[in-house]
């Protein structure tokens, strides 16, 4: 947590969605998080692990999506974004 940016009020709020195994590991499918700005998907993952027991079981480099498109861990996130961590896909 970046105290100086918190003090300056530069924060962003994101919705984090978890699915399948990840939702079961974390015990939840939806988490609302607030982070210092700027932030990346990697920062969201780090904050999620700290905030939610069970999220520690998520892998270090999960598939991720921002606003319903595939994203990298380095992708920046903005206030109001919908971040999802996706277990290995198994459609079809």
């Amino acid at each position: 947590m970046n105290t100086s940016s918190e003090a300056s009020g530069q924060h962003l709020a994101v919705r984090v969605l978890l699915f399948a195994t990840y939702a079961e590991l974390a015990g939840r499918a939806l988490v609302e998080l607030t982070l210092p700005s700027p932030a990346t998907v990697q920062d969201v993952l780090r904050r999620l692990r700290a905030a939610l027991p069970g999220a520690e079981w998520l892998p270090d480099q999960p598939l991720a999506a921002v606003n319903r498109s595939h994203a990298r861990l380095s992708t920046p996130v903005r206030d109001g974004d919908e971040i999802a961590f996706l277990p290995p896909l198994a459609g079809g």
Binding site: A20, T21, A65, S69, R72, L86, P87, A90
Partner: protein
């Protein structure tokens, strides 16, 4: 494009009707059916789930890519919820004036669907065990390629 995800049985005929046109003489189709085995275990049934709005968006992107790359019309559908052995889980139809682009587009779409669309499968085995299928685990299907990101 009609919705990709359905909780009802996949309707192949309506997919065929969606892509049919008098000038399209070649129609390639792929049906993915629920198999009775996975890595040597006997599957009794399974449940498909999805990150639904993203799955719809990604399926529409894949369809648009195929239609941009080949002279084809494609239609696709994935069933969610409880499925039994032999049920159609996914169907892809590609129609073109000729068979080569129909085959190529159909293959492209099913490969990209598997690689990019957020759908998950929980399998219930005959021995009572339950697993979320992980195609990236050694011995559990093919390894994934990298997923394109925005």
């Amino acid at each position: 494009m009609s919705p990709y995800l359905t909780h009802a049985p996949v309707d192949l005929n309506s997919l065929l009707a969606a892509v049919s046109a008098p000038e399209r003489g070649g129609v390639a189709t792929f049906l993915g059916l629920v198999r009775n085995h996975q890595d040597g275990r006997t599957v009794a049934r399974l449940v498909y789930s999805a990150y639904e709005p993203m799955a719809e968006a990604e399926a529409a992107r894949i369809a648009a890519e195929a239609e941009g790359r080949w002279p084809v019309r494609v239609a696709l559908s994935h069933r969610l919820g409880d499925l039994a052995i032999g049920d159609v889980a996914v169907a892809v139809v590609a129609a073109s004036a000729h068979r080569a682009p129909a085959f190529e587009a159909c293959r492209y779409v099913i490969e990209e669907l598997k690689r990019r669309v957020p759908v998950w499968k929980k399998e219930f085995y005959a021995d009572g065990s339950v697993l979320w299928v992980n195609p990236t685990r050694p011995g559990m299907g093919a390894p994934p390629e990298s997923v394109p990101t925005t």
